[in-house]
Symmetry: none
Subunit: 210 residues, 4 copies
Amino acid sequence: MTSAAAAGTGAAEGTPRGRPRSEAAELAIVGAVLRLLDRGGSLGGMSVEGIAAEAGVGKATIYRRWPNKEALLLDVLVRTELPEPEYVDGTVRDVLVEIMEFFRMAALARRERSTLTLLDQFRAVPELHQRYLDQVIAPRRARLRKLITRGMERGEIRADIDPDLLGDLLVGPMLTRTLLHPDAGLDDPTLSATIVDTLLQGIAPVASGT
Amino acid sequence: MTSAAAAGTGAAEGTPRGRPRSEAAELAIVGAVLRLLDRGGSLGGMSVEGIAAEAGVGKATIYRRWPNKEALLLDVLVRTELPEPEYVDGTVRDVLVEIMEFFRMAALARRERSTLTLLDQFRAVPELHQRYLDQVIAPRRARLRKLITRGMERGEIRADIDPDLLGDLLVGPMLTRTLLHPDAGLDDPTLSATIVDTLLQGIAPVASGT
Amino acid sequence: MTSAAAAGTGAAEGTPRGRPRSEAAELAIVGAVLRLLDRGGSLGGMSVEGIAAEAGVGKATIYRRWPNKEALLLDVLVRTELPEPEYVDGTVRDVLVEIMEFFRMAALARRERSTLTLLDQFRAVPELHQRYLDQVIAPRRARLRKLITRGMERGEIRADIDPDLLGDLLVGPMLTRTLLHPDAGLDDPTLSATIVDTLLQGIAPVASGT
Amino acid sequence: MTSAAAAGTGAAEGTPRGRPRSEAAELAIVGAVLRLLDRGGSLGGMSVEGIAAEAGVGKATIYRRWPNKEALLLDVLVRTELPEPEYVDGTVRDVLVEIMEFFRMAALARRERSTLTLLDQFRAVPELHQRYLDQVIAPRRARLRKLITRGMERGEIRADIDPDLLGDLLVGPMLTRTLLHPDAGLDDPTLSATIVDTLLQGIAPVASGT
DNA sequence: GCATAAACGAGACGGTACGTCAGGTCTTTAA
DNA sequence: TTAAAGACCTGACGTACCGTCTCGTTTATGC
């Protein structure tokens, strides 16, 4: 029905009869949502009528593509997910810092916080909730986990730690600073390095090795 | 204005004429919200009319106490905040584990996730946003920070770390598991200890091995 | 549900709880419809949103009173039915002329023509169709029939005619001139007398003529 | 749905080259309207989309032929107007009865009543209103008037009556029974004769000739 | 002990937005 | 070129809530 369906079904739709969906309209809609977000609107406070007006599009054109408001908003978030750079080579520590920088930037993009709103609203539409987790969160976690595992194999990270827990330890501070004390911290360019190094060294006093 | 105002202003209300506010109604309202939440409703999808009906109360009785829906929902969350136990004595490590257990329990109470929805919706009502941060988050952070500082003074924690960052490192995994992969992890009773110990030891391989 | 229901049920509504329906709003709605009609709108081309806007009223206030647009419009027609004067005494011929004048005036009120639209639209909602017939048409017919019967008893009208057919013969020309050639005839003040007299005399040449 | 029209119209599909089915589409459209009418639909409640679907035709194919919905519906009515028989010879009384029988049959065809809906809807499109009056009503009236005039010349009808009024007196009962009390009367085969004879004789008692 | 005054349940009020449907136009592919 | 299919914008439909405002009733205090 929407691009989700397109992603799901392989192909073989048969010949599409009738006037094809206007790609321009689709872009106008997504663009309108982003424009309204940047103009200070919150995701939850957005109305389909407002989006249609901003996009210069009929409401039906929106509902032809997305079954409801939440699906549209989620889709916009998925589409605007920043492209993660290729983390080429380097010590695991350096790549971790790089990944953390990506998270920091994504969070700073100020859309992240609103995202969480949807995660809750989607309890009523569980497949959407799952879709966000699958399409945005899971890939991030997978990349992180792969890097961590590699670090363990190389001997740069202790091998007796649950890689998932380590991922959470890394991502966690980004999340708390996005949600719980948003006024502080995210714009410190040394934050990523500090987090990674602190984790690497541990918080116990140096002498406590014994 | 509301019970918040009552808490804020000292007194000097003059003599209250007329029929006093029914405490029973207030309890019925809060109870209705909790009942609806437990029944699977999401915070965002809740309607004042539904709450009033569930509580057997007129809408005006709600609006007499809270200025709008968000304030009511936030207030319910604040009121149902679990009472934090007194963390008496013990090594810093043990107390940290205890605190983390409290966070884990609060998150498991399943209200936490919905809470985040409000944090975003409150961008439109910033003083409510601030109030949640002030009344729920800040106290938690303060307790945590105090404990960390004490740990540093006692030499149980390295003193060259930003205590706030350390707080974020501790709380982060609880948050990620609440929001980003809720299916896993929170019900593991050893989680808190694992997090604290991992942090204490660091994730780098033991340099001076053997 | 609406005034129809009120007319139907005898009484015993129990105590009406809550804020009572605003009579002002009801008047504003009906008034708005009439204003829009006078401004040239056709009954069929009228929108509930337009009516609500013209009346300065929320749409829900309309739908609280009438279940749909057609019911509202029909109700307006029923309410604005001209009060028929008391046809006191006089020869049957004179009273018939008087009645016909009433019909002519009602038709001239320019609402009659639009009424017919509803009569057809109501095929989908038969009870409304019936209601118009019952509340507007039937009373008119009854009055006419009573007068005709009286005329027969008094010997002023031939007794071997179906009174209903006679009623149709009288009303017919008003109807054709409203619907089928509206540009002509209705504003001739002698029309009613001409119809009645033509019918009384018959259209065949006077047998015992000369 | 695609070959529905082909199934409906029994026409030869023949060579699909060039311009295969201009006329077939037209017939399919008109046929679809009549089918929907017979199936109980009202003229006003008919949608172009429904007609197109029923006809197995694209909406554009309809709009290529008629400028709007009303024009289509009116055209269908005009096309399905019963062919009026040649009223050869006989006394004027007999021919009048014959004409009235034609009106009665047309009214019984049950399309007449819906017609009236259009007459009102056409206030917004006055030239359509006029067209129906011109193409359906006026010819009927002309024929009637001609006959009446002939009757007057022959001395079978009083010459001091407005022929148009007389036409209205004749047609009126058919109209009232179509619109105002549709349950009664139209299927009585003696109705036409009764109306004509009643009019000829007049409704005043016989003695009143003086 | 009786008047005053405010709170109470109920529900109507003017609005805004929802998701659907239809009107009339435009744009594809197939024949 | 013409047809079918169906997308496009517009605007109305009838519904659900928002936060406010009467209603008639109930329950405290103060004169």
